[in-house]
């Protein structure tokens, strides 16, 4: 069911920021990437303060936060145009900021006053500095779009054209730096799954990635997008420009989803079934070696839970299956807090639909979470108050963002922040993907339940 928000007059507490903010943090997360913002003076600070509020204590990067180059355009540029200010800014950026790729991300104001950013950038073609342009006005959309626009610009403007395909090489898309607060660990978790099949992975943002390898990413035989919504523009650009096919799969969290992920990717790349199965067997053996330790407490402390999931397109799609299949929980409602196009909505639905039907949660697309209780009661109606016997949604946990704590308290549920904003957790390399990530998530979920023990 979709609560169509495109006609809405407002979004309540948007869970993230705009395309420019997403572009800025994405460029910062690239190996030695240098953002050059062509934007009004507050845009960089706004992105940094947003990270400060919801980013799991991560702000900035190598060249991030207030260190990014920014033209800081003023009323004068609004009247006379910002091309000259941008030109001066690029020229001087090359003298001060040391990087391997310079990306101009332009914001709302230059787009509205008609600055020709591409034309200004093309004047620097002989500078010897790699410089590309992404048009990322905030009015185009949210942070995740900014991520996609930057990767699309990289695919079209930076990645080498016409190089030979390399068997066993793949690119990993779909995990948005910073706005998925667990991005670092999630990227590593998926990389490890792919590496277990013998694949060579360019993941753009992991510690081992380099700009030289990103330039060679056109040699990949497949692009793997671990999202129904993010990275699709980039994957399409790779397909169009470099002839690389792509697969969109849900974020593989935990054992059941990881096994399916390995099978799907393995089959797409023609990896022998016995090789895939033996990897899965080995990983599951280890996973359940640890999980089996829980069997006493799972019963003794009655650790099965109803769950309400509130998250971005990746978590709303992936968490219910993990809860239903790996933990044996009851995900009742999953709310995707983003405006998605129909194709992306269908991919999220498909990820939910792998759950057997009687355990499948109700799926709602709504950026305004003020109606959470209404959705929940539709799914799990309250008995009349004077009934002596009640069947509330309890025991329950809300897996959402730190904004959902009040809602969780209102239904007497435990709470864990996973989707942006994550104000109340410190996250460095923690991730929930793959087998190891599944174990981490079990620890965190049960940890939230036994917090007061």
């Amino acid at each position: 069911m979709s609560e169509n928000s495109s006609s809405r007059a407002f979004i309540e507490r948007p869970r993230g920021s705009c395309a420019l903010a997403g572009a800025m943090t994405t460029i910062t997360a690239l190996p030695r990437g240098i953002p050059i913002l062509h934007a009004a003076p507050g845009c960089a600070g706004n992105a940094a303060w947003t990270q400060l509020g919801g980013g799991g204590l991560q702000v900035g990067g190598y060249c991030g936060s207030l260190s990014v180059a920014c033209s800081n355009i003023q009323e004068r540029e609004v009247v006379f145009g910002g091309d000259q200010r941008l030109r001066e800014q690029i020229e001087h950026t090359f003298k001060v900021l040391d990087g391997d790729l310079y990306v101009i991300a332009s914001g709302c104001v230059p787009a509205m006053i008609g600055d020709d950013v591409k034309a200004v950038a093309s004047e620097f073609i002989d500078s010897g500095k790699p410089l590309i342009v992404a048009s990322t006005s905030g009015f185009k959309g949210n942070t995740q779009l900014g991520y996609d626009l930057v990767l699309e610009a990289i695919a079209r403007q930076f990645v080498k054209k016409g190089i030979k395909k390399h068997k066993g090489k793949v690119n990993l898309l779909g995990i948005v730096p910073n706005w998925d607060v667990f991005w670092r660990g999630n990227i590593v978790g998926v990389k490890q799954l792919l590496q277990s099949l013998g694949l060579e992975v360019n993941a753009y943002f992991s510690h081992e990635d380099t700009m030289a390898e990103i330039a060679n990413s056109s040699a990949a035989e497949l692009n793997i997008v671990v999202s129904g919504a993010y990275g699709i523009l980039a994957a399409r650009a790779y397909e169009e420009v470099h002839g690389i096919p792509w697969l969109s799969l849900p974020l593989p969290i935990g054992s059941a989803a990881s096994a399916e992920f390995l099978k799907t990717v393995g089959h797409a790349l023609g990896i022998p079934g016995n090789k895939i199965n033996s990897q899965i067997h080995k990983a599951e053996d280890e996973y359940y070696h640890y999980v089996s330790t829980l069997s006493d407490c799972y019963s003794d402390m009655d650790l099965q839970r109803y769950a309400v999931i509130i998250g971005d397109a990746n978590y709303a799609a992936a968490l219910p299956r993990f809860l239903a299949d790996d933990l044996g929980w009851l995900p009742e409602l999953t709310v995707c807090t983003e405006d998605l196009d129909v194709a992306a909505q269908d991919r999220v639905k498909a990820a939910i639909n792998v759950i057997e039907s009687e355990l499948r949660p109700e799926l709602v697309f709504d950026s305004n979470t003020a109606r959470l209780l209404e959705y929940l009661e539709r799914r799990h109606p309250r008995y009349p108050e004077d009934n002596y016997y009640q069947d509330p949604l309890s025991p329950a946990i809300v897996i959402g963002s730190s904004l959902d704590r009040t809602f969780a308290a209102s239904i007497g549920a435990a709470h864990l922040s996973v989707s942006f904003p994550v104000a109340n957790r410190a996250v460095l390399d923690r991730g929930y993907t793959g087998y190891t990530g599944g174990l981490r998530l079990i620890e965190d979920l049960l940890g939230a339940i036994v917090l007061g023990r």
Binding site: S17, A19, G53, V68, Q74
Partner: protein, 507 residues
């Protein structure tokens, strides 16, 4: 200064109103000499011209951010951001402060309430007036806040949305009081214009006593003072100032953070307004004096021993308690100085580097000089005439040092830090990582949750700095591994290379 400004729909930019500037690099004695701190005024020469700028610049903030820092705390209020979906997403940081601030004041964490009209590609072409009107009506009908504050960003400033007209029109149909705060980021380089922007809106829309509210009695009014806090102080700082003001028998009305919108009119019924920072409050206090005859105390910030005393003396004088104030100050200073003794040998001669809002930077520098530190450099965010008095105090007590007026610009900071190698850095929120990555222990210059102001603030800050200086290993080891994004060649350059000094103008 006349405050006819409040008759206009929009507050003026500080570049025009105060000739405020953001770009200067040099030495403090030369700078302070230019406005006569050392008695050698060079008439007409202003080193930090409002038209100075940079040929290379880094990310900054705009007036929208500090504006939301205050507006976002008002209870029973919906903050409606009119702009692109990310404009004002800094509310996520404000939300953390609202949570802890409400808890500190009322024993229960609060939830910030904000919405965005999320203007899209269609709205940019058609304008956002209809959408804004619908948003106000829907929020009023479904959320029932007492107040809806429409904060407009850059986009409506270019599409030319007539936010005032939309509000005037919608107001007839909605229950909530609706007011506009204009925060088009491209319109001013001086983000302190933020304070003027929302004070302007409060003054125009919330200063009338509601008909159903009982008028304050003469006695209530005579002992009531406004204490202004625009969210640079947490509850713990407010409590310290309240403690001091209560010694005069004054009843303190804290405004505007966490102020209930329906009570804001009471600010016009006080006997005196007390500021802790002229950068924040001059615009409003002038208005309160001119329109409501409320005198004010504005010139000093109660940070540091001497400054807290000066601040108290001005208040004592204003309320006719000069004698009491002397006794209070004498007692407070004696107890504080004794408490500080164990720390002072440790601080002696250690060199500090500060970067933040102009007045806060200067007052904190004065405090640190009192503790025995030496100043390596200061980087105030901007400059206007109100700071001259604070520069005078510094120049009197300190050796010459590097002064860099900059709206952040960490590349200049990194260059200076490498050369000056201070022992301690104090920067604004989201402004400490450059120093930290260079191995310098850091402490945020204001953090709403920690105590900085009044006598207690001096002691608490000393306690914290002692702790940071005792074990700076986080920063030391980080600096071995972390790399800043600048070419090595940049550090050999003049830090002020990209500052373009505007030609002097006829006034």
């Amino acid at each position: 200064m006349s405050n006819d400004y409040f008759k206009q729909t929009v507050a003026p930019r500080r570049e025009s109103r105060l000739k405020a500037g953001i770009a200067y690099g040099g030495k403090v004695c030369q700078f302070a000499g230019s406005f006569g701190c050392d008695g050698k005024r060079k008439d007409g020469f202003r080193p930090c011209m409002e038209r100075n700028e940079r040929g290379f610049s880094q990310g900054s903030i705009c007036l929208l951010l500090p504006a939301l820092g205050t507006i976002g705390t008002l209870p029973d209020t919906a903050v409606l951001l009119h702009g692109a979906v990310g404009c004002g997403s800094s509310m996520h940081a404000v939300a953390c402060n609202v949570r802890s601030g409400a808890n500190a004041r009322w024993g229960k964490p609060g939830d910030a309430s904000w919405m965005s009209t999320a203007m899209n590609e269609v709205d940019v072409i058609t304008g956002g007036e209809a959408k804004l009107a619908r948003a106000i009506e829907e929020i009023d009908a479904t959320r029932h806040p007492s107040t809806i504050i429409v904060v407009s960003g850059c986009i409506p400033g270019i599409t030319g949305d007539d936010v005032e007209a939309v509000i005037a029109n919608v107001q007839e149909r909605v229950k909530a009081k609706v007011l506009p705060v204009h925060c088009e980021g491209f319109k001013t380089k001086i983000w302190a214009t933020a304070y003027d922007a929302y004070y302007h809106a409060f003054g125009r829309h919330l200063f009338e006593k509601p008909d159903d509210a009982p008028e304050l009695t003469g006695e209530e009014r005579s002992m009531s003072v406004n204490l202004l806090n625009v969210s640079s102080m947490g509850r713990i700082d407010e409590a310290e100032l309240e403690r001091l003001l209560k010694m005069f028998g004054l009843k303190v009305n804290i405004f505007p953070v966490f102020a209930k919108p329906q009570d804001i009119w009471k600010v016009t019924r006080a006997a005196l307004s007390i500021s802790t920072c002229p950068t924040h409050d001059d615009y409003l206090l002038t208005h309160l004096q001119e329109k409501y005859n409320i005198p004010y105390v504005l010139r000093h910030m109660p940070i540091g021993i001497e400054n807290t005393g000066i601040w108290l003396r001005e208040i004592g004088k204003a309320v006719g308690k000069e004698h009491e104030v002397d006794i209070i100050i004498k007692h407070e200073e004696r107890v504080l100085r004794k408490a500080l003794e164990p720390f002072l040998p440790f601080f002696k001669g250690k060199r500090i580097f500060l970067s933040a809002g102009e007045y806060r930077t200067l007052a904190t520098a004065n405090l640190l000089v009192e503790l025995g530190f030496e100043i390596a450099a200061l980087r105030p965010f901007h400059h206007d005439e109100f700071a001259e008095v604070e520069y005078s105090k510094l120049v009197a007590h300190s050796k010459d040092f590097t002064l860099n007026i900059a709206n952040c610009q960490p590349f200049e900071e990194a260059n200076l830090l490498k050369k000056l190698k201070p022992d301690l850095f104090m920067g604004h929120l989201v402004g400490n990582s450059t120093a930290s990555k260079l191995g310098i222990p850091t402490h945020t210059i204001y953090n709403i949750g920690l105590n900085y102001v009044g006598y207690k603030g001096v002691f608490e800050l000393a306690r914290r700095l002692y702790r940071h200086l005792r074990n700076p290993n986080f920063h030391r080891t980080l600096s071995v591994h972390a790399k800043l994004p600048y070419f090595d060649s940049w550090y050999a350059e003049d830090a002020f290379k990209f500052i373009k000094t505007a030609p002097e103008q006829e006034e």
